[in-house]
């Protein structure tokens, strides 16, 4: 697979490690890079150390996964060393995912990590289970616009904005981010969800509810990407329920220029490389010359 440039980032292939997956340490990130990812996104990093929610923090269901990690992170000041190692030890671009409670905090974190030269920043305004962060912000176009603009103002690398599907109109939130200078929209973060152990009556997650990922959300993500592609002028990065190359192609045809893969790492640590190779084979077999050729293809099948 040839290198490809998406939203200002030179990816080795279109399959990127999603935020929060094997993303806590420089070593784990570079391990994922070596295992075939085209790019890697760090765990979301915030302004202060955060322990996250009590366990159980992730459960596998038959048709997906539920998680509520609660944005555990050691803060940008301690994470910058991990980011440095990830950047040094990986031959693929490293994208720093960051979060905060407001524009100032986002700026503080971005500036704090800027020195380690991430290839881009991904703004997490979409985590569904961290009060005051993530989706609490991402449901409000004005906040998203202000935060995106503030971060774009202080960093000299592309800014990607990752959206939540738990809104009435994801396109308007995406538009706000683009208006404020986002180079790409990443969609989607997990979908708000909950499971209950009927024998004890307790919710299965320590945080009571969390975010649904995996197979279950792919049709939701595909539709979000489809709508965002139709409306926006920046590349869309598709995330949600991708575990096979077929899933990646589906997302790309819906409009994604590249994809991110999260929960499927459960199935195999090498899943990203496997997907990337599968995409190549599909393109070749079907006579397409590049990924770009099929980005948004479904919009042209009418």
């Amino acid at each position: 697979m040839n290198n490809m440039k998406v939203a200002g980032v030179n990816l080795k292939n279109p399959v990127i490690l999603a935020s929060g997956i094997m993303g806590t340490t420089g070593a784990s990130l570079s391990r994922m890079a070596q295992s075939g990812a085209g790019g890697i996104v760090t765990k979301s990093i915030g302004p202060r150390p955060k322990k996250g929610h009590k366990n159980p923090s992730m459960v596998k269901l038959d048709f997906g996964y539920l998680n509520a990690m609660g944005l555990p992170n050691p803060s940008y000041s301690e994470f910058s060393e991990e980011l440095r190692i990830a950047v040094e030890k990986s031959d693929v671009p490293v994208i720093a995912s960051i979060f905060g409670g407001n524009a100032e905090e986002f700026v503080e974190v971005a500036e704090g990590l800027m020195g380690e030269s991430p290839a881009a920043f991904e703004l997490n305004v979409s985590c569904p289970h961290a009060e005051g962060y993530g989706a609490s912000i991402g449901v409000d176009s004005c906040l998203v616009e202000a935060i995106t603009a503030a971060v774009c103002h202080v960093v000299d690398v592309p800014v990607w904005v990752k959206l939540t599907p738990n809104v009435t109109d994801i396109v308007s939130v995406g538009q706000a981010a683009v208006d404020a200078g986002a180079s790409a929209i990443v969609a989607i973060n997990t979908v708000r969800g909950m499971a209950i152990d009927i024998y004890s009556g307790y919710p299965v997650l320590g945080n009571r509810f969390g975010g649904l990922s995996g197979d279950a959300i792919r049709p939701i993500a595909v539709k979000c990407v489809y709508d965002l592609y139709a409306a926006l002028d920046v590349p869309i990065i598709g995330v949600g329920g991708i575990s096979k190359w077929e899933d990646a192609i589906e997302m790309i045809m819906a409009g994604a220029s590249a994809v991110e893969v999260g929960s499927a790492v459960y199935e195999s640590i090498n899943v990203l490389g496997d997907i990337a190779r599968g995409i190549d084979t599909f393109l070749e077999d079907a006579g397409y010359s590049s990924v770009e050729e099929i980005v948004g293809l479904t919009h042209r099948r009418i």
């Binding site: 340490t25 366990n55 159980p56 459960v59 990690m69 301690e78």
Partner: protein, 259 residues
């Protein structure tokens, strides 16, 4: 897989600080060294080595374990597992050494029993603070030659379990299996590494687990990014060369603390 609602059918006071909880649910295919995630409803879910097919042996250290110590027969916990990779099982007639410190006996007692069943020759070095805290002494006694060390000298050699290593020819063992406090395991590792036989040894590591299923990365060790919950918890000594082992670990935030 959501945790299975499991009834406590027996609570055994193993030592003053450890209790075994036996359940009405069995991990019938668990291998020695694998662990379960034990959910104390409303409190937390924590990793525990599988010490019996249907049980875990718990040291009281904090929130979840304290709450467990308030539970008794007829109460419930949530269980899921078995997770992770267990110890390498010996072949018949192989000779192995088991080195257990404190609650590190939990995953090693089933290994000793399985090894004996297979027909291997088992030596055990068991260490603890004091005589009363020697965990699974009887189980080990039945499976092989047991040597004991206690910090206060109340039984066996006075000192650390590592001191027992000085008196034997470690090259004799086909494999050495270690579990206990990290400082103790690291001492063993250094001794073996000096003799360049650390590749014959397996260490069962502890790190802070969040997902417990190999996705989140919370438990990863430097420099290879190995997941203790999925690539481990049992690691060959070779994989631990030039790692964070014995130096530092990461807590709930992902921030480091030193040993």
């Amino acid at each position: 897989m959501i945790p299975i609602y499991s009834k406590i059918i027996e609570v055994i006071e193993e030592t003053p600080s450890t209790r075994t909880f036996l359940f009405d649910v069995e991990f019938s295919d668990a291998l020695p060294g694998q662990f379960a995630m034990v959910w104390v409803h409303g409190v937390d879910e924590v990793p525990m080595g599988i010490s019996y097919k249907n049980g875990v042996t718990v040291q009281k250290v904090g929130d979840a374990t304290s709450r467990m110590f308030e539970l008794s027969e007829g109460d419930f916990m949530g269980l899921r597992g078995p997770f992770g990779n267990g110890f390498t099982l010996p072949s018949p007639n192989e000779k192995i050494l088991i080195i257990a410190g404190g609650v590190g006996s939990a995953p090693l007692a089933p290994l000793a029993e399985e090894a004996k069943n297979i027909g291997a020759d088992v030596d055990i070095f068991l260490g603890s603070r004091c005589r009363d805290e020697l965990l699974f002494r009887d189980r080990f006694n039945k499976t092989g030659n047991l040597l004991i060390a206690t910090d206060d000298g109340s039984e066996g050699k006075c000192g650390f379990v590592t001191d027992l290593l000085l008196d034997v020819d470690l090259g004799e063992y086909h494999r050495i299996h270690v579990c206990g406090p990290e400082i103790m395991m690291y001492r063993v590792f250094r001794i073996l590494q000096d003799k360049n036989i650390h590749e014959n040894a397996e260490f069962s590591m502890h790190r802070y687990f969040k997902c417990g299923i190999g996705v989140c990365g919370a438990c990863c060790m430097d420099k290879l990014g190995l997941r203790v919950c999925r690539d481990g918890p049992v690691f060959n000594g070779k994989l631990l060369e030039d790692s964070e082992f014995g130096q530092y670990a990461r807590g709930p935030t992902g921030g480091k603390y030193k040993f």
